[in-house]
């Protein structure tokens, strides 16, 4: 009887795993077939106005890059505070708030940036888009740093201190180094996540059909454009959306795999 129940349950869970994997496989296959079908190398050479994606890809990267430049150092230093200096209720509150912020709906962050930047400056801009992405990234980096630092045994810090190093030196020379791989992986994953974000950009950066480097104007965004294109009635627009999705997915997966590769290499 026990053995029978055992068999049944195990079969059920294998089955559900197969169902779940089936769906996910279906999505990937669709994406690859449709994406590769519409993919052409000229997409990288032309801007959207000419039926290409060049400006969108570059725009997306610029916004994510600026977000990273702001969010990563701030997040890391904040994470260091939480794990190394913060004590008692204040640090705990910050930690909890940061976790909550990480799960805050991205569209709400978009709305926030809309209210504080887009309305006062009178229009959507690449700058506003970058800010909303930075806000999204900040808690992820904080969380990653905090968690990775917590994996560093306290003896390692004490050993540094016992050797006569001052605390910040111990943190920079030893603790961060010990957590380096984990933090880098975490940051890469955070970057992969924000580069695929659409919702906070919808009404902060919007998108643009033209190539621009002017951050004070509506800025080209790959994801927002995918949304727009997918909702166009013409087949050609949708095909372009699929191609863009394909490129976006490949990008995100590459960043992800890089992160994994680093971790694995280090563990060896």
């Amino acid at each position: 009887m026990r053995l029978l129940i055992n068999k049944i349950i195990l079969a059920l869970s294998t089955l559900s795993a197969l169902i779940g994997l089936g769906f996910l496989g279906w999505i990937l296959i669709t994406l690859f077939i449709k994406g590769l079908g519409s993919f052409h190398f000229s997409l990288f050479l032309n801007d959207l106005i000419d039926g290409g994606l060049r400006n969108l890809i570059i725009g997306q990267f610029i916004m994510a890059g600026i977000a990273g430049l702001v969010g990563i150092p701030l997040g890391m230093v904040a994470g260091i505070y939480l794990r190394e200096y913060g004590r008692g209720r204040y640090a705990n509150t910050i930690r909890n708030l940061s976790d909550i912020m990480m799960s805050a709906p991205s569209i709400v962050i978009g709305a926030f940036v809309y209210a504080i930047i887009v309305i006062p400056t009178g229009g959507t801009s690449g700058f506003a888009g970058a800010v909303s992405l930075a806000i999204m990234m900040l808690p992820i980096v904080i969380n990653t740093t905090d968690n990775m630092l917590s994996l560093v045994p306290k003896e390692l810090r004490e050993a540094g201190i016992a050797l006569g190093a001052s605390k910040y030196k111990v943190i920079i020379d030893i603790v961060i180094r010990a957590a380096k791989v984990g933090i880098m992986t975490g940051i890469l994953l955070a970057f992969a996540r924000i580069i695929g974000e659409t919702a906070p950009l919808l009404f902060t950066s919007e998108t643009s059909n033209y190539f621009t480097m002017d951050l004070t104007q509506s800025f080209p965004s790959l994801t927002v454009s995918i949304y727009d294109l997918a909702n166009e009635p013409e087949e050609s627009s949708r095909d372009l959306a699929w191609a863009a999705s394909f490129i976006l997915t490949v990008l995100v997966l590459c960043i992800n795999l890089t992160g994994r590769f680093i971790t694995r290499n280090k563990n060896k």
């Binding site: 003896e155 004490e158 016992a162 006569g164 190093a165 001052s166 020379d173 030893i174």
Partner: protein, 259 residues
Amino acid sequence: MVMSIEKFSFTYAGASAPSLKNINMEIAKNKITSLIGPSGCGKSTLLRSMNRIHDLYPGNKYDGKIKLLNEDSGKMENILDIKKENDFINLRQKVGMIFQKPTPFPMSIFDNIAYGLKIAGIKNKTEIADRVEQALKDGALYKEVHDRLNKSAMGLSGGQQQRLCIARAVAVKPEILLFDEPTSALDPISTAAIEELIVELKKDVSIAIVTHNMQQASRISVYTAFMYLGDLVEFDKTENIFLNPKEKQTEDYITGRFG
């Protein structure tokens, strides 16, 4: 005598009762002194007071005196008076520490040892290289690692890591080395190697070691302190503690009839 602990009490932050009560003992020069006692007796707490590593965490309370010999002036100075960051750093360079788990820094074997030297203000590259080599030899590790000094220290075995940590601590030429159960995470053979090393080290440095392995205390130390519930029950030559303990509590612990 390089350290003298007088009427020392210690209370952890937020604790209502002191964890150490009126401890009086000393660390003899170039000798090994061990601290034994059941878990929670305060032996680690006492050891960690000797270089004030407790001060990493705020709010702990000290009482009494812990005097450290100033080799230059020949005077005993109370380390509990230290307030300035700089003096803490000096203290910890004088009183090194080795922990239960090996704590190699995430850098190369060479850099692990050079790190302490650089902190101590040594900049001359040749001098650093020489002292790293010497430290590795002192740590009985040079033979095993001399061909991979630039490899990560994480790749060493547990016993080697611990010897690396000892070498690292020795490199800055401390006056006292504190060992906090240095072998309890190691197998018997690595343990034997570390013990041998510790005995070797006492030529140059005075040693205090916390161990929950009584046999270890008996094997290597000249003086032994038995602690129980925050009290120093008995402090005497090791042979007396193990052969003719004066206190019944000590005797019961030593003979295993404890608790």
